[in-house]
């Protein structure tokens, strides 16, 4: 069995707001094995990005957020590190690819110098060495004539190119874990496929763990080995890809799956839409958080909050947070 590169235990993130602390993540636990590609799905506003940024402790702890729980990286709890140690982890051991490369790349520096910056910080490379290495990275992520592109500013590149630059920055120090936060959402469909292919290729080539955050289940089905589904700051279901797609246990997951358009399905069947919207963090419902939108909810669901437990009669490692969870057939 492969070693866990990342193990999140009971992670709680609270945001400081004018109305007091607001719980954005509520006891999240999951893990990523060495070289594994894990997907994290959910609608927008369910805490996916909060999770990725909490793992790297990107929120300022003085003014923005407070963390609780454990984030074990290679067995070391990141939440106990001081800022200096954390800086060595960020960008070297864990790196991140953001959704919108145009706003995530510094507009006033050429892209080459932004890659070289990471190399200078973490690998101690000097001017020319760093530049050469950066150019090498641009080649690796498939940017044509990298020598010229080094001097380009972010706004001079196309969306796909920019995303490749971001991936180059993220990979230049050979991280053990890459967090890709909706890396393809802002791109055209054809470019999307290219970028995903690149991520998968590098994942295999470099044996690097990848946490892929997306709301696109199709992407997950093609690339990941395991999936976690998030809803309102909690993980509601976790399973390997096949199990999740064939026998989803949580009504929310089922809703997500049924909202994907299918070509082979019954044409008369209309595209499914989960009723209602994700509630605000300040209005988290009592009991099961999904109950107000759940077609199977009973009275008990509105009172008692379910825990993330193995699905009765399900596959190994198939967990769901639902009172009515059963192996596939149970409630459908």
């Amino acid at each position: 069995m492969a070693k866990n590169i990342l193990e999140v235990q009971n992670l709680v993130t609270r945001f400081k707001t004018e109305q007091g602390l607001m719980k954005a993540l509520d006891g999240v636990s999951f893990h990523v094995e060495e070289g594994e590609l894990v997907g994290l799905v959910g609608e927008s506003g369910c805490g996916k990005s909060v999770m990725s940024q909490s793992i790297m402790r990107l929120y300022d702890e003085k003014t923005q957020a407070r963390y609780e729980g454990k984030v074990l990286f290679n067995g070391r709890d990141l939440l106990t590190l001081d800022e200096k140690e954390m800086q060595r982890v960020r960008g070297q051991e864990i790196t991140m690819v953001f959704q919108d490369a145009l706003s995530a790349l510094d507009p006033v520096f050429p892209v080459g110098s932004q890659i070289a910056e990471a190399l200078r910080i973490h690998q101690g490379l000097k001017g020319k060495e760093a530049r050469e290495q950066a150019e090498e990275m641009l080649r690796l992520v498939g940017i044509p004539s990298p020598g010229e592109r080094m001097r380009s500013y972010p706004h001079e590149l196309s969306g796909g190119m920019r995303q490749r630059v971001m991936i180059a920055i993220a990979l230049c120090c050979h991280p053990k874990l890459l967090i890709a936060d909706e890396p393809t959402t802002a791109l055209d469909v054809t470019i999307q496929a290219q970028i995903m292919e690149l991520i998968v290729r590098l994942n295999k080539q470099l044996n690097m763990g990848v946490l892929l955050i997306t709301h696109d289940l199709a992407v997950i089905a093609e690339t990941c080995t395991r999936v976690a589904v998030m809803y309102l700051g909690q993980i509601v279901e976790e399973a390997d890809v096949k199990t999740l797609f064939r026998r989803p246990a949580h009504p929310y997951t089922r809703g997500l799956l049924r909202s994907i358009p299918r070509l082979d399905g019954d044409k008369r069947e209309r595209l499914f839409v989960i009723g209602g919207t994700v509630p605000l963090l300040s209005q988290i419902p009592q009991g099961c958080r999904f109950a107000p939108r759940c077609p199977y909810a009973c009275e008990d669901c509105g009172r008692r909050e379910p825990e993330l437990l193995p699905v009765p009669g399900g596959e190994k490692d198939h967990l769901a947070r639902c009172h009515k969870a059963a192996d596939g057939q149970g409630v459908s």
């Binding site: 790297m56 990107l58 790196t95 953001f98 520096f109 910080i121």
Partner: protein, 319 residues
């Protein structure tokens, strides 16, 4: 970049045209005969006629305008009725103290306001932020000449630490005496502008600090000081530079009033004396000079902007 410079420079033409018409008209909106008003009640009709002839007041307005602009373009800014020497000489003499005062005021305001603005942004919503915003509010609301008078009351009349007025140039009395004569006026003038500068710096810095690329830098492992000094400062520099540049102009015209408080023989005093004497051509020359300086500074700022921010350049080239 060349195209950007050219395009930006061409926008000056309509602005300078309006400025010149407005300044030209200053003489002509006066009720009655400007020549008579200028010479006062005791002048004879012959004297008035002579002056009218010299000022070209007998020509139709557009002809007068063209003549005036032609003269200005050739470097002929007119003559003072009351002062000796050419207009250029008069302006140059009075510009020295004003520029010195403005320079000190900008320097003090920048040194005071930019760090405070950054401090407020970094502590957004906390006590330091609120204190800074109160300071900036008071700064914005305090007329500079009033602050000047209060400073004189405190430091010159009560404590007698500093001279109440007068101006010493570096050449006359050395650097220290120069500074002593300008410190109070520079504070009075600079504090006003620092209120606005604090606000602009704060909001520019906040915008940058909350941006994705700063988060990306953090995720890359850049140290907080590296993020701040390299990325945040460089990105907010454009806005800060704009504020500082603009403040130079605001303060240059604000100096007019403060000079009077401290009896500094700058263009402000020149203007006020000329207004009281109705020495129109001096007023025109001063207003024209300061306005052209203003327009040129804006131009330089915009060009610098293009130099710092690659995106502005691209926008200028119509990409």
């Amino acid at each position: 970049m060349k195209k950007y410079v050219l395009k930006r420079t061409l926008t000056l033409i309509p602005v300078l045209f309006v400025v010149s018409v407005a300044i030209f008209m200053l003489v002509h909106i006066a009720p009655g005969d400007p020549a008579a008003a200028l010479l006062g009640d005791r002048a004879s009709q012959a004297e008035i006629d002579a002056l009218r002839e010299r000022m070209g007041l007998n020509d139709p307005l557009p002809v007068q305008y063209v003549n005036w602009v032609g003269g200005v373009l050739r470097g002929d800014l007119g003559e003072s009725v009351f002062m000796q020497g050419s207009m250029t000489q008069i302006l140059a003499e009075h510009m020295g103290p004003t520029l010195a005062l403005t320079g000190w005021a900008v320097l003090l305001a920048t040194l005071f306001a930019v760090p405070l603005g950054i401090l407020a942004a970094k502590n957004q919503g906390r006590l330091a932020d609120h204190l800074v915003s109160v300071t900036s509010m008071v700064g914005i609301s305090m007329p500079s000449f009033l602050l000047g008078l209060l400073l004189v009351l405190l430091f010159a009349v009560q404590l007698q630490w500093l001279p109440a007025w007068g101006y010493v140039s570096i050449r006359e009395g050395g650097f220290l005496a120069h500074l002593r004569s300008l410190i109070l006026p520079a504070i009075a003038l600079g504090f006003i502008e620092s209120g606005l500068m604090i606000r602009m710096t704060r909001s520019a810095m906040l915008e940058v600090l909350q941006s994705d690329y700063i988060r990306m830098c953090k995720a890359k492992g850049v140290s907080p000081s590296g993020i701040f000094l390299k990325h945040a400062l460089r990105n907010s520099l454009i806005s800060i530079l704009t504020v500082v540049g603009q403040s130079f102009m605001v303060l240059l015209s604000g100096a007019t009033v403060v000079e009077t408080v401290f009896n500094i023989p700058g263009i402000g005093q020149l203007t006020v004396n000329s207004v009281l004497r109705r020495d129109y051509e001096v007023i025109q020359a001063v207003v024209l000079l300061v306005s052209v300086m203003n327009v040129l500074i804006c131009l330089v700022l915009d060009l610098l902007y293009g130099l710092i921010d690659p995106r502005a350049r691209a926008g200028g080239e119509g990409v």
